[in-house]
């Protein structure tokens, strides 16, 4: 069965014109040779930080950015090869929900007009029929008649997002692109939106392209995940596999950096040094090599290919498939928090209790506990971290 959406070797470069002569001097390598597939009805998450290209990929799919190279094949048809008319019709099938609920809805329009817009643009519905359809969509997202004539600024963030979802559903698309749909929302509201999205997917069977930076959310909603760094996929595969047993140093660093809400599990903060480099002059070879704790001689020279390994995973790294990453199990027990109690300070202005304790690497090896229902998260770099702290 051919996939719903297939992206092949997608490359998107932006030119920045500098100088008086306006000759294009710099090229932003936003996306380079990305290949992905989404099956009908499944959820693929794109994960990455700024500069990773995840938003650019989404916009290319939606037709908001033009690809520099590569193909986007939707339902078997190459989008670039379609004529304008056909493309407009094809675009019905892919809709979008943006991150900021307020700016994604025109402030001057009423809710009815917001949701009716796609219907007016692509169907012949009007009058009472249009209103009925709008109401139907509103009810699908848990809103009602009383909301029809209000304006977006009168609603809460969560409600606005639901309106945006209702609008996205209007044309019965096969794919909905969600660009960080819950990042701007409170935790309790976020949960509600995610539940709604999942239910709608179950009922109506569309696929989601879910862009997120919150790995916990990704784990909750996505079937497959692709991790992006500086415009390229570094690792992808089934969510459980990639997030529970990550094999790319960047994925591991990402997981390590996410602060866990469980104070008894210690996230190794500050594990990855430096900033994401500029996309104008990406590092040679493997783009992650300047920040990678496991960098080898070959890494700056040759870019690793994205190859299939076991379990449906794809990995782009020169390390061997069975490379033994140093495990760090976050220690159980309270002494992590207790060690930071002010009472244990020796002098008035903050001593260094950590100097008296074994560094996290050693401590975790001693106290590896699997007492909680949480599985171990394996992360690298403790060596680098420890040497940093021993000043």
């Amino acid at each position: 069965m051919s996939p719903l959406l297939s992206i092949e070797d997608l490359t998107v470069h932006f030119k920045i014109r500098r100088g008086l002569s306006r000759k294009s001097v710099d090229v932003v390598h936003a996306v380079d040779d990305v290949s992905l597939q989404i099956e009908a009805g499944e959820t693929l998450a794109l994960v990455g930080e700024s500069g990773s290209g995840k938003t650019t990929i989404a916009r290319a799919i939606l037709g908001l950015n033009k690809p520099t190279a590569g193909r986007i094949v939707f339902e078997g048809r190459d989008l670039a090869a379609l004529k304008r008319r056909e493309r407009r019709a094809a675009m019905r099938e892919a809709q979008v929900v943006f991150q900021d609920p307020y700016s994604s809805l025109s402030p001057r329009l009423t809710v009815r007009d917001v949701i009716a817009e796609p219907l007016r643009a692509q169907t012949k519905l009007s009058g009472a029929e249009l209103n009925d359809r709008v109401l139907e969509l509103l009810e699908m997202v848990g809103l009602g008649t009383q909301h029809l004539w209000r304006r977006p600024h009168e609603f809460s963030g969560g409600q606005c997002q639901r309106i945006a979802v209702a609008r996205a559903l209007a044309l019965e698309p096969k794919l909905i692109v969600l660009d960080e749909p819950t990042s701007a929302l409170d935790v309790s509201v976020q949960a509600r939106i995610l539940v709604l999205l999942k239910e709608l997917q179950r009922k109506l069977g569309f696929a989601y392209l879910f862009i997120a930076h919150d790995l916990a959310v990704v784990e909750a909603v996505a079937d497959t995940v692709a991790v992006l760094y500086l415009g390229q996929i570094v690792e992808s595969g089934p969510t459980e596999l990639v997030l529970r047993d990550p094999r790319h140093p960047y994925t591991r660093a990402l997981l390590a950096s996410v602060p866990s809400p469980d104070p008894e599990l210690r996230s190794e903060l500050g594990i990855i040094k430096g900033e994401v480099p500029s996309a104008v002059r990406p590092p040679s070879g493997c783009r992650f090599h300047p920040r990678c704790p496991f960098v080898m001689d070959i890494c700056p020279k040759e870019q690793p290919e994205l190859r299939e390994t076991s379990g449906g995973r794809r990995l782009a790294c020169h390390l061997a498939d069975d490379f033994a990453f140093p495990p760090i199990v976050r220690p159980e027990g309270d002494e992590g928090a207790a060690s930071r109690e002010p009472q244990q300070r020796s002098s008035g202005e903050g001593g260094r209790p950590e100097a008296d304790e074994p560094p996290p690497y050693g401590r975790s090896m001693k106290e590896a506990l699997f007492g909680s229902r949480r599985k171990a998260r394996l992360v690298p770099g403790s060596m680098a971290d420890r040497s940093e702290r021993d000043t």
Binding site: E219, A220, V258, L269, E275, R340, E341
Partner: protein, 326 residues
């Protein structure tokens, strides 16, 4: 450990076109020397306003404090004059905000901005101020190099900008730093670096911090103690592990349950209802309309803090009942 800052029963309201917003309804918060306390809550709960109140950054008379005290080492900030508060800001207490780009003046170089703060508070000459700026930058993990001192804010990355803001805030060795969502606008790996920096600052320099955040993970990993706010008051406070893992207040428990960690979408829970309108808030305990354990008294009387252990308390009638105190 001595109390560095104690906020007692702080009440604040301000007038808006639609009515009086009762923004703070009796906030109780203590910050000890050299500790990091997290102020956690969802949007609209008043955590930022509390932070701004400490520094007197809310415009009066629109912001009307109707009760309470803000005691810094015993000294009430609420009754101080503007001139006195100016001395205190950046001196005894500093603050960093969410958006570092908005906190830095785009037309001045970073080095100049830091040096200016130092000159203002310590009256140093140009050369010494520059040296102090270099020292400030190094304190936050940025090399005090010409490159950074001479850069304009937009030339630095997000993480570096936030560090520069912190350097500015700490340039006069404030014993207390209030950080209002310092990492929300940053990438997650940079966020981790900044949190590590905050912890470092506490360890190396003993700077106490109020870390305002809506991200429970940030609070869990970077804070010694946590105070949870809802609709204008602190509902639970205590050591991080106690408040998050052994939470007693129904809101804290529900909030923690909403987190998507290790859950499939189907397993996600939500809190019924929505955040109240602070112009016409619910009577008594403001959480009662959404609370699974609401009792009659919750509608009428605002609950007082019930002590649960030496550090841990929760302001809830149901908890009080369980403790046999009510």
């Amino acid at each position: 450990m001595a109390d560095l800052l104690e906020i007692r029963d702080l009440r604040l309201q301000f007038n808006s076109l639609r009515g009086t917003v009762k923004a703070l309804d009796g906030v109780n918060l203590t910050v000890r020397e050299h500790e990091i306390i997290g102020l956690v809550g969802e949007s609209g709960c008043g955590k930022t306003i509390t932070g701004l109140s400490v520094l007197g950054l809310l415009p009066r008379p629109q912001a009307e404090y109707t009760g309470g005290e803000i005691l810094f080492r015993g000294d009430d900030f609420l009754v101080k004059s503007e001139a006195e508060m100016e001395e205190i800001r950046g001196g005894l207490v500093s603050m960093v905000f969410q958006d570092p780009l908005a906190s830095l003046n785009p037309v001045f170089r970073v080095g100049e901005q830091i040096a200016r703060v130092v000159r203002l508070h310590r009256g140093l000459g140009k050369k010494e101020a520059r040296e102090a700026a270099v020292a400030a930058l190094e304190r936050v993990g940025l090399p005090g190099s010409e490159t950074i001192l001479g850069s304009y804010p937009h030339q630095l990355s997000g993480g570096m900008r936030q560090r520069a803001c912190m350097a500015m805030a700490l340039s006069c060795d404030s014993p207390l730093l209030i950080a209002d969502e310092p990492t929300t606008a940053l990438d997650v790996t940079i966020q981790a670096q900044i949190l590590r920096l905050l912890l470092d600052l506490r360890e190396r320099l003993g700077i106490a911090q109020i870390l305002i955040t809506h991200n429970v993970g940030v609070a869990a990993q970077a804070c010694d103690r946590v105070a949870v706010m809802y609709a204008g008051s602190v509902v639970e406070q205590g050591r991080t592990a106690e408040v998050l893992k052994a939470s007693r207040h129904p809101y804290t428990t529900a909030l923690y349950e909403c987190l998507p960690q290790d859950k499939k979408a189907e397993e996600l829970t939500t809190i019924p209802g929505s955040v109240p309108d602070l112009i016409d808030p619910p009577s008594g305990c403001r959480f009662h309309p959404r609370c699974a354990h609401a009792m009659e008294v919750c509608k009428d009387v605002k609950p007082e803090p019930t002590p649960l252990s030496d550090e841990h308390w929760a302001a809830c009638h149901w908890v009080a009942q369980q403790e046999g105190v009510a």
